[in-house]
């Protein structure tokens, strides 16, 4: 942002605002309205930066943390998810940490930088306050015993070292160490109580104020303190006012000076207007000026808002009348009134937008997507900023008038505080620092009184208060943050020395330089460095195990070649949740081959199902489909179809009437409510007490009532048509397009020969009740919707003789003995539904029935595997109960966790299934099929990386950020959520719009960057990397980690940004092997490391 200010200080306000709005896209959340929720990198705007730098920048901008808190990492360390070896490796990776540096000698060894850093990561060595130190010494016996969190080996080492220097007992050793800490740092520790400072004698005060000139008289000392207070106030003055427009808005400045947050007052009226403007159909009555834009609508309403009458703000009315028509002009006018230098305007507006990231982001999204979903309300970001500015000033006026009787502008505030330095000083320390209680009470009372007294009278009171605070700050108890001190240096050193097992004599021997080296190493470990080191170690731990498993599995997995033919082939979505389903299926029948690909199956289309009122895009969000496929009744004249349509319309009309009609209106609503009230207790009891059975019963009832209709697809279009556009999509695909889509897909997954008799395309989706975030659980490659229709369309295309003819001409010969079938897998209840089974020729039926039974069994086993992660399911749940349990979750409207979504995602394998089949990956891997032996020039891999890379990275990073700081990047608990404007959720009835993932979705997630392992030669990958800027951004900037597994050898290279390929040195030893997955996961709740699965590696009949 500063770049803006520097390069373009003045210019036409409209151009500047345009540039600003374009820039805001990089800093505001980019989440779409919630029905179109799609996982994306939360920090998408900073993706051009390296991962680590982007996190730092985001922390600066939004204050949100980029790594898990240290305490969480420490917990992971205790649970063995990170080991000391991982930490050492992570430190070795960072040259700037200089882990090998020798800091001091200890006994016959050395203390290296690495030891200090690891100790600092594992234990908090925080500074203490005077009171905390007293408490530690008096209540915790810190000077008589070793620290309670000391590991036994450190304690042994410390006591042994002390004994070697002639100190025998523990208490003496600890006391001696404390003395050594103080001595080497040149400090003395005398216990002092902060309240003792209230009664300073003039002599004491003089001594504090004028330590060097001891003979000065007390009176002079007082005026000296006055001078010092003034000098300090001048510095504070600059620091506060200079931050406006960079880090603060007027609201922030007033908050720092008065402790009052005008946002509390401003938010409700603002949110009412904002959500009324963006509303997508919840309210029944909108601002009559809504179609003239937000500013005009707000202004029309503000003119008629009589709130000023009751709030004693007659000036509002005048101000509102003087507002210009043009929002850009208004912004310039407001910023001039505020008295902000022109160079800082953009910075100020950016800050303003970031104060309500959710609403600002949504407004910007709608600004960038005009006419979204048919809503023609104009949404202009500039108008939003204009309204925010005016409202901020109107509400700031009250605070300014109340406290200082001046206008709310920076020059006025400057003018005032230049004249009242003591007041500034007191306010600063009261609201921005920690004062002891007696000073807080005193200062707060002055702030209260100042609202009734004149400024001149008050100055008499401010001055002594500022004086008292200044004196307190000079005392040892206040611990000024410069130089070494007992609380900030000696105490952490004392704790550190114990953890390193150093005794007092050793510390003394190292001298002040040694102590300084220890402390400096500790200081070097900033929050950011600690977070990064932890994350690197955490990722490494997981990565090592994955690599071990892949190496151990090399050559074990079947279907590297398809000889003899598999019994059937099933193409699943790449989704990590399908890993478990596929593994169980392969264990049940090793003669099946499973493949994976982005779940839209290369068919980007607008889909309009039989019952839909409009077509929705089923493809990754970055693609705009130009084809539409409709599901139509097989026979238009079918009476069953007419009945279905009528009954369904009736049902929906009644539902609409009940849910909406009882919400709006008076007497009709009363009649409806009374009617609905008769059934409500029974419905409620059914839904709450027997969720599974009740929902199943209701579904059956609905199906029986509406009846089902056989349907057909509008699949094929004539070849002679104008090329389709997104505005005028073409109904159906031409024969050539179909062949191209199908052929391209089969080539991408390496299925160009060896077709089994049945090839199943398995789309997926999720269903749940009472879940505003439903789209976050469905297929990410289908814009958060169900991928079943894509599977069905693909299968229908691949079965057409016209298409097969064209494919044969391109070298893909699909024999007549092969049929494609579409199906859909529900990831919530693990049921599989088939499409168009009736159309399947008789000879294929038995095979389908067998496969169907196997899928059912796989679903049961998968349900059991999933149940181990649900706290509400007993740990060792037999399959039938687990099967019912997951179904009941999906049907239960009280369930805030119908399923766990992508919570377990961590890695992605791009390659033949033989690479990973035969090992247990705990549903943590995206599995994408690619055959390196059929892709000599790497073009297929290039396309796969470009399409699957961003999808996987988006899912992984959204989970990452929502997990590391759920308050900052996620949307908090579902329990408080309130659906607003049909576009998002708020907490309660008037908060910022919450974006990201709810807490219920990320609880068990292990936030780390996605590890992508590609089965390909490093040279191929390097060539692709060099050609593709999007991959350079993702991989080179470290948003995902890339590794290459050699197709023909047990060898893995890891790509290190800045270094290139590094050969992985580990081996395949020690990986346990079990017969079935269940033998491995039984009885465990937590994430599990990989193991080899014997039954899935076998190929029955393949020899």
């Amino acid at each position: 942002m500063t770049a803006h200010a520097a390069t373009q200080p003045v210019g036409d306000i409209r151009d500047r605002l345009r540039a600003l709005v374009a820039h805001l896209e990089h800093v505001l959340p980019g989440q779409a309205p919630i029905r179109d929720f799609v996982h994306h990198n939360t920090l998408h705007g900073l993706q051009h930066l390296p991962f680590r730098e982007a996190l730092t920048e985001a922390r600066r901008l939004t204050g949100a943390r980029g790594y898990l808190p240290d305490e969480t990492f420490r917990e992971l360390y205790r649970r063995g998810r990170v080991t000391r070896a991982d930490l050492e490796a992570a430190i070795a990776e960072q040259p700037d940490l200089d882990g090998d540096a020798e800091l001091m000698a200890a006994g016959d060894g050395l203390v290296r930088r690495r030891d200090v850093i690891i100790a600092g990561l594992l234990h908090p060595f925080r500074p203490v306050t005077a009171c905390q130190l007293n408490w530690q010494i008096e209540e915790q016996n810190a000077l008589a015993a070793c620290q309670p969190d000391l590991p036994p080996e450190s304690r042994e080492r410390l006591l042994a070292a002390a004994r070697a220097h002639g100190v025998e007992d523990e208490a003496a050793a600890v006391r001696e160490l404390w003395a050594a800490c103080l001595e080497t740092l040149g400090l003395t520790h005398a216990s002092i109580h902060p309240e003792e400072l209230i009664d300073l004698s003039p002599e004491e005060e003089a001594a504090m104020a004028a330590a060097p000139e001891e003979d000065e008289a007390a009176g002079e000392a007082r005026s000296r303190v006055d001078r010092l207070v003034r000098k300090e106030a001048a510095r504070l003055f600059e620091s506060h006012f200079d931050r406006v427009g960079e880090e603060l808005t007027l609201r922030g400045l007033l908050l720092a000076l008065t402790g009052e947050d005008l946002m509390e007052e401003l938010l409700p009226p603002l949110v009412r207007q904002l959500s009324a403007h963006l509303d997508q159909g919840l309210a029944g009555w909108h601002n009559p000026r809504r179609d003239q834009g937000f500013y005009a609508a707000w202004r029309a309403s503000a003119h008629r808002d009589y709130a000023w009458l009751f709030r004693d703000r007659p000036e509002w009315r005048l101000q509102l009348e003087r507002l210009p028509e043009d929002p850009a002009e208004l912004i310039a006018q407001e910023l001039r009134l505020l008295g902000l230098p022109e160079a800082r305007w953009e910075g100020y507006l950016e800050r303003l937008a970031l104060e309500l990231p959710g609403w600002s982001g949504m407004f910007l999204w709608r600004h960038n997507h005009p006419r979204y979903d048919g809503h023609d309300t104009p949404v202009e970001m500039v108008e939003y900023l204009a309204v925010r500015l005016v409202m901020e000033r109107m509400f700031a006026q009250r605070i300014c008038r109340h406290h200082w009787r001046i206008e709310a502008s920076l020059p006025m505030l400057r003018w005032y505080f230049r004249r009242h330095p003591a007041e500034l000083s007191v306010r600063h320390f009261l609201f921005n620092a920690r004062l002891p209680e007696y000073l807080t009470t005193h200062a707060q009372r002055l702030v209260d009184e100042s609202q009734h007294e004149t400024a001149e009278l008050m100055d008499e009171a401010w001055r002594p208060a500022a004086h008292l605070i200044w004196v307190w700050r000079q005392s040892p108890a206040a611990d000024r943050p410069i130089g070494r001190s007992v609380f900030r240096s000696a105490w952490p050193l004392f704790r550190l020395a114990q953890h390193l097992g150093l005794c007092g004599a050793e510390l003394r021997a190292a001298g002040p330089e040694g102590a300084a080296a220890l402390l400096d190493s500790l200081d070097h470990l900033t929050e950011e460095r600690a977070g990064w080191t932890w994350l690197s170690a955490y990722e490494r731990h997981y990565r090592e195990r994955i690599f071990t498993a892949l190496i151990a599995n090399h050559g074990r997995g079947p279907w590297a070649e398809r000889r003899p033919l598999p019994e059937a082939q099933l193409v699943f979505c790449m989704d990590d949740r399908e890993e478990g389903m596929r593994r169980h299926l392969e264990e049940i029948n090793p003669a099946l081959e499973t493949l994976g690909a982005a779940g839209f199956f290369n068919i980007p289309m607008n889909w309009r199902g039989l019952d839909d009122d409009k077509a929705l895009g089923l493809c990754p969000v970055v693609v705009t489909p130009v084809h539409e496929v409709r599901e139509l009744p097989a026979e238009e004249s079918d009476p069953a179809w007419r009945q279905h349509r009528e009954r369904r319309d009736h049902r929906l009309r009644w539902r609409e009437l009940l849910f909406r009609g009882t919400r709006r209106g008076m007497l009709p609503a009363a009649v409806l409510t009374a009617a609905a009230g008769v059934a409500a207790p029974l419905l409620l009891a059914g839904k709450v007490l027997l969720p599974g059975r009740f929902t199943a019963w209701a579904d059956t009832l609905r199906r029986d009532f509406e009846g089902s209709v056989p349907t057909r697809l509008t699949l094929t279009a004539d070849a002679e048509q104008a090329p389709p556009t997104p505005q005028r999509p073409q109904l159906g695909f031409t024969d050539d397009e179909q062949a191209e889509r199908v052929g391209g897909f089969l080539r991408a997954i390496g299925l160009t020969d060896g077709f089994a008799p049945l090839v199943v395309m398995m789309g997926h989706g999720s269903h749940s009740q009472n879940n505003p975030h439903a789209s976050a659980y469905s297929c990410g490659a289908c814009s958060g919707r169900h991928g079943g229709p894509n599977a069905r369309v693909f299968a229908a295309m691949a079965n057409r003789p016209e298409v097969r003819e064209r494919l044969a001409a391109r070298g893909i010969v699909i024999p007549d003995s092969t049929r494609f079938v579409g199906a859909t897998h529900d990831t919530c209840d693990d049921r599989v539904d088939w499409y168009d089974e009736a159309a399947l020729p008789e000879p294929f039926r038995p095979a389908l029935e067998k496969l169907s039974a196997e899928l059912l069994e796989a679903g049961r086993r998968h349900a059991r595997e999933r149940s181990r992660r649900f706290a509400s399911a007993p740990l060792k749940l037999p399959e039938p109960q687990a099967w019912r349990h997951v179904a009941a979750r999906a049907a239960d409207f009280s369930q805030a966790r119908p399923e766990l979504g992508h919570a377990t995602n961590a890695t992605a394998f791009i390659g033949r299934r033989s690479m990973s089949r035969g090992a247990f990956f705990d549903r943590r891997a995206f599995l994408i099929s690619y055959d390196p032996t059929r892709d000599p020039d790497g073009s297929v891999l290039e396309a796969t990386l470009l399409s699957a890379g961003p999808v996987g990275a988006g899912i992984s990073l959204e989970y990452y950020f929502s997990s590391v700081d759920n308050d900052g990047y996620g949307c908090g608990t579902k329990v408080l959520h309130n659906v607003t404007g049909l576009l998002g959720v708020m907490e309660g009835a008037g908060s910022d719009l919450r974006t990201g993932l709810p807490r219920q979705m990320i609880e068990i997630h292990e936030p780390m960057r996605l590890l992508v392992v590609v089965e390909a030669a490093t040279e191929t990958l390097t060539r692709i990397y060099e050609r593709q800027p999007p991959l350079q951004e993702l991989v080179g900037n470290g948003w995902i980690r890339l590794a290459a597994k050699a197709p023909d050898a047990p060898r893995i290279h890891l790509f290190e940004p800045g270094q290139g390929w590094v050969l992985w040195q580990g081996g395949a030893d020690g990986l346990p092997q079990v017969e079935h997955s269940a033998d491995w996961f039984d009885g465990h709740r937590d994430a599990l490391p990989p193991a080899l699965i014997a039954s899935a590696a076998r190929t029955e009949g393949a020899g």
């Binding site: 919840l282 009555w285 029309a300 009751f310 919400r663 409510t673 009374a674 419905l683 509400s872 408080l976």
Partner: protein
């Protein structure tokens, strides 16, 4: 029939048990969830089963009418019994209350899993269930008032569920304070009933009401009516309920959607014989109900979030019930109360699925194209700003004046140093007259303590120091308005 008392008692005991578990630490965190949930859910189910049993008895052999368990207290001519009214009105409503409370708690077991406030939530819900059953079943106004207060306190607790958010706590306090006005009315009604009718039992009040003149009956009724209007969020008390949506979805559902908001209407129906003595009060009730219905209808139309929209719809419909009471159609109001409560509970619990339940919105004809009327509806007719202006600001000014009077006049009279000029031998410093007293006694204790210290015995001195610390904490708590209110409530409870 003495087991009738168990019905409200069961949930109250559950609240007590959950509270004890929270205090002793045995019911904390995820591990304690199952036990806490069981206590709450089974107690509610127990109450429901007992009520169903009672309903069965009533069906077979007629409603038992008034059941008196004993005497609460007696003073001269006044006796206040512990009794329950089990008639055709209270039994169905109580059954519905127990059913909805039971289902909502069952719902919350999954919904609130892993919430840090899980135990707090079930504590509040159980307390509320007990309170609500007391209101419905009680045989006299005093017992009903006890339930009234329990419901109020638990509502305050659950609005402030997310207490780390200042908006939530602010709104909780606001709702609580608004309801205090109603409570004052309730107490006023009770006192007048004791004075003029000699009894607070519903039955006796109904019998003796005709003896009163129109005016006395009106004044007596007015107290109860104010209480009812505040609890049922009628104009001008209406705004508190729109602020009460900060809690978890199930608590919003049963407090403001389904049960508590109907408590006022229930009270009006209970007092039918008294109200009917005063046409003026009936007229007032009807007018308020009509106004509220209009207010809720227009404001509800402009709401853009599901919960607020449901809340205003509820306000509208409860307004219609009040209107019905005002017109004398008490039976209609009673029927509608039950139906509305059931449907609204269902609708509120389903509110997170509104995205699916309502498809693309059909165009609605707005009631007016007027920008003024739209703004008025959007600003909720400035009702809140108006009441603030009318009540809150003058009260604050008064408080501020009293404070400075205390500091500048009383302190000087008592001879204590004004302001904060630091004294030399102070041990603690308090504010206000009570604080001064404490300060004085602490000073005295300090001297005593020094004496002790000089003559050995550090243990006692430390004990005294700690005691002083406790007293200081109590003092500082008392200075906070919330605790002051609690103190006032406690005082009332003692007086009664």
């Amino acid at each position: 029939m003495s087991w009738v008392g168990l019905i409200p008692l069961l949930p109250l005991l559950a609240a007590l048990a959950i509270g004890l578990r929270m205090v002793t630490g045995s019911g904390r965190g995820e591990a304690g969830e199952t036990a806490t949930a069981r206590i709450g859910v089974w107690a509610a189910l127990g109450a429901l089963l007992l009520l169903l049993l009672l309903d069965g008895v009533a069906l077979v052999s007629g409603a038992p009418g008034t059941v008196t368990l004993g005497t609460w207290f007696e003073s001269g001519a006044f006796t206040i019994p512990v009794g329950f009214t089990l008639d055709g009105l209270s039994l169905p409503v109580a059954t519905l209350v127990a059913l909805i409370a039971f289902l909502a708690q069952r719902f919350s077991v999954n919904y609130l899993h892993r919430e840090p406030g899980f135990h707090r939530f079930f504590f509040g819900m159980s307390l509320f269930t007990g309170g609500m059953l007391l209101i419905v079943l009680s045989g006299n106004a005093v017992l009903a008032f006890a339930g009234w207060e329990l419901a109020g306190v638990s509502s305050w607790m659950l609005i402030g569920y997310a207490y780390e958010r200042p908006t939530a706590t602010g709104n909780a306090l606001r709702a609580f304070v608004t309801n205090r006005i109603g409570d004052a009315g309730f107490l006023f009604g009770i006192v007048l009933a004791l004075l003029w009718l000699g009894s607070v039992e519903w039955g006796a009040m109904a019998e003796r009401a005709p003896e009163l003149g129109t005016l006395s009956a009106g004044v007596l009724a007015l107290g109860f009516v104010i209480a009812a209007l505040a609890k049922s969020a009628q104009v001008p008390f209406a705004p508190w309920v729109a602020r009460a949506l900060e809690g978890p979805t199930p608590s919003s559902a049963i407090f403001y959607g389904a049960l508590m908001i109907h408590a006022g209407v229930y009270l009006l129906i209970r007092l039918q014989p008294v109200l009917e003595q005063s046409p003026a009060v009936m007229g007032l009730i009807a007018a308020v109900g009509l106004l509220t219905a209009l207010y809720g209808w227009l404001s509800g139309l402009v709401q853009t979030d599901v919960k607020s929209s449901l809340m205003f719809a509820t306000t509208t419909q409860v307004g219609l019930m009040v209107l019905a009471c005002g017109l004398g159609w008490f039976t209609l109001a009673a029927w509608y109360l039950g139906l509305h409560a059931a449907w609204r509970a269902y609708q509120f619990l389903l509110s997170p699925s509104y995205l699916e339940l309502t498809g693309a919105a059909p165009a609605v004809n707005p009631p007016s194209r007027s920008r003024g009327l739209y703004t008025a509806a959007l600003q909720r007719f400035w009702l809140e700003a108006f009441t603030d202006w009318l009540l809150v600001r003058p009260t604050r000014a008064l408080a501020s004046d009293v404070n400075s009077f205390d500091q500048r006049v009383v302190s000087r009279l008592v001879g204590l140093p004004e302001g904060s000029a630091p004294g030399t031998t102070e041990v603690v410093r308090g504010h206000g007259a009570a604080g001064r007293l404490l300060q004085w006694s602490a000073g005295w204790l300090n001297a005593f303590e020094r004496h002790l210290v000089f003559h050995g015995g550090g243990k006692l001195s430390r004990l005294l120091q700690r005691l002083g610390g406790y007293l200081l904490t109590v003092e500082s708590l008392l200075e906070r308005p919330v605790y002051l209110l609690l103190l006032i409530m406690a005082t009332f409870a003692v007086i009664l």
